[in-house]
Symmetry: C2
Subunit: 353 residues, 2 copies
């Protein structure tokens, strides 16, 4: 994967301003809860308050699955796509995958001791948050390239699996996989119960998300579309073949890359699309441009008490992580896309509440 890939859509400032609140690099090792997916009380969308957003979901499903509806959609055509960071789980103060990359630096340096005194690795190893906050975008790209490529796909999967089962979010001291939005888990299930195939379409690394998506979201690896790095087929000394992750970006699955990735990986236009930032705009446009009933929804982070408030809700500048810009807000209004207010539409945000 090119160094750029994993950082697509991430502003340097947003990444680095968050470093100060991160815990030490070594993850804690508390036991993993059985599952972040708790059954929804009160029906299919039990964590949703009644309102326009919940109603839009119910109306869409009825319109596309009732055989008597003029907007009926054949089961094999039922595709729904979901951004991940900020749409299905918490993206603040930093994308989870970037935290993984920083946490992985010591292991990379242990294998390549020559990097110990080389920047930016030296700074990351120092644990000096003030110094880390000054890392440049090229610095970060070096870190992503060093930590996401060069190993076999099996090695990478095993390492991510181990990390994601122990690493914790600094604010809640909970596993990242516990910080999925319960109302969205209910939407995923509700759509699947109505014959929809649910996909994640993320700017993050496809291989990274695949490691935990089946367990956490009920979405299998073949339904994860993300930024894609090339792999290279080779043979071990025992003659067994393996794939090595290469520093070569095949798809930057963000912005225009999202509809391009949907075409490449799915080959059908989605009927429903969920996002939360400018990186999701083209995916929603592409979905909306189809005929018949389509559903486009944007999660607005306007709940600083229970989660975070950013974007137009908080008057934050457009350079902020996962930006829900005023322009996107205006486009949503004009295009009749539905904006989900976390504060008003969600009865609870996390399963553990």
């Amino acid at each position: 994967m090119s160094p750029k890939s994993a950082s697509s859509g991430v502003s340097r400032r947003a990444l680095l301003s968050a470093l100060a609140v991160l815990p030490a690099l070594t993850g804690s090792v508390l036991p993993l809860p059985a599952s972040a997916q708790t059954a929804a009380p009160g029906g299919a969308l039990g964590s949703w308050n009644d309102g326009a957003a919940k109603q839009a979901i119910l109306d869409f499903v009825r319109a596309t699955t009732d055989r008597a509806s003029p907007s009926f959609v054949a089961p094999e055509e039922r595709i729904a796509v979901f951004d991940q960071d900020g749409t299905l789980w918490v993206e603040h103060p930093m994308y989870t995958q970037v935290v993984y990359c920083l946490d992985r630096v010591p292991a990379v340096v242990a294998q390549k001791p020559g990097l110990r005194d080389v920047e930016p690795f030296k700074t990351v190893l120092s644990g000096n948050r003030a110094a880390m906050a000054k890392l440049t975008m090229p610095d970060l790209e070096k870190i992503l390239a060093a930590t996401l490529t060069g190993m076999t796909t099996d090695e990478f999967n095993a390492d991510v699996k181990k990390w994601i089962e122990t690493a914790r979010h600094p604010r809640w001291n909970r596993l990242y996989t516990e910080l999925v939005f319960q109302p969205m888990i209910e939407v995923l299930r509700y759509l699947r119960d109505n014959g929809y195939k649910t996909y994640i379409v993320t700017g993050g690394g496809q291989d990274f998300v695949r490691v935990y998506a089946e367990r956490v979201y009920g979405i299998p690896p073949e339904q994860i579309v993300g930024s894609v790095g090339g792999t290279k087929y080779g043979y071990g000394k025992d003659g067994k073949p393996f794939l090595t992750k290469e520093p070569k970006l095949l798809l930057n699955d963000d912005h225009a890359g999202k509809p391009e990735g949907i075409h490449m990986m799915i080959g059908r236009r989605p009927y429903a699309a969920f996002g939360n930032s400018i990186g999701d705009r083209q995916m929603l446009e592409w979905t909306a441009a189809g005929s018949g009933a389509r559903l486009e929804m944007l999660v607005l982070h306007d709940d600083a008490t229970r989660e975070y408030a950013y974007g137009p809700a908080a008057g934050l500048p457009d350079t902020k992580l996962g930006t829900f810009t005023q322009a996107l807000y205006d486009q949503a209004k004009k295009s009749n896309w539905t904006v989900i207010s976390m504060k008003n539409d969600w009865k609870r945000i996390f399963a553990f509440e």
Copy 2:
């Protein structure tokens, strides 16, 4: 898509030596039969003779789907991959997609009249088979680039759909989609009936195969892995977004590209793989390298009467289209991959027999 993509694995000689037997460029317009998939008589694998090949399929399915079996595979892990050309349908005298590209030259020249007197388009337009047989590989690549890129994905899909519903194979005067191997259609269905997700993994263009694969093979677009060209997102004058097919190769899905493509598009190692040529070798190796019961099968074209005989069966040189080389044959023997003899293992080859 790069000019190279659609021609991956195709030797120039094989392509061109076949030109002489092709019909005129304009396809005939006889009505399309309801479906090339006819119900199999005599049970799930009714077109198979009893023998080692049929037994290998039955044994594999039993071993991986019987809960009491030590090789039981969870339903979500059941992935089976199939090469297309020469494995699921006839690949002689020329890959069907290459015939499409040649047929499309007049339409391309009509849109870009400047190409009329430019080689290689001039030669293709002349219909002079002897001259066409002398086209070089770079000539062919120009033809593939001109006919497979530059249009929107919707335009491409509509054009292929129209062509595939009328174009006919010169030997049988049947639609190409009627020239699917009935025993393989039965294997696809039998595996699906046992919880397997069936994928095509082809060196041909992913977008091309997706147009007809659901109707012909029962395999949806999202389960077609092929050579992938980039697309570019843009907006029409009406503000509607569209994707344009670009002359940029993202994945050459042949040889080592097959396991690489499987990783990219599926993200799981298959339990069963079917191929017929050296381009499928790495896909079979990758499948075989997994633990538990795995099935690797190669279709040997040894029936000149009912279809064609080539590869070791016919003593043809390794440069021949869809080559089943002696080296592949030896590797199959050594690795306990099962070779399917079309002549001996298949009771009938086509549904129309």
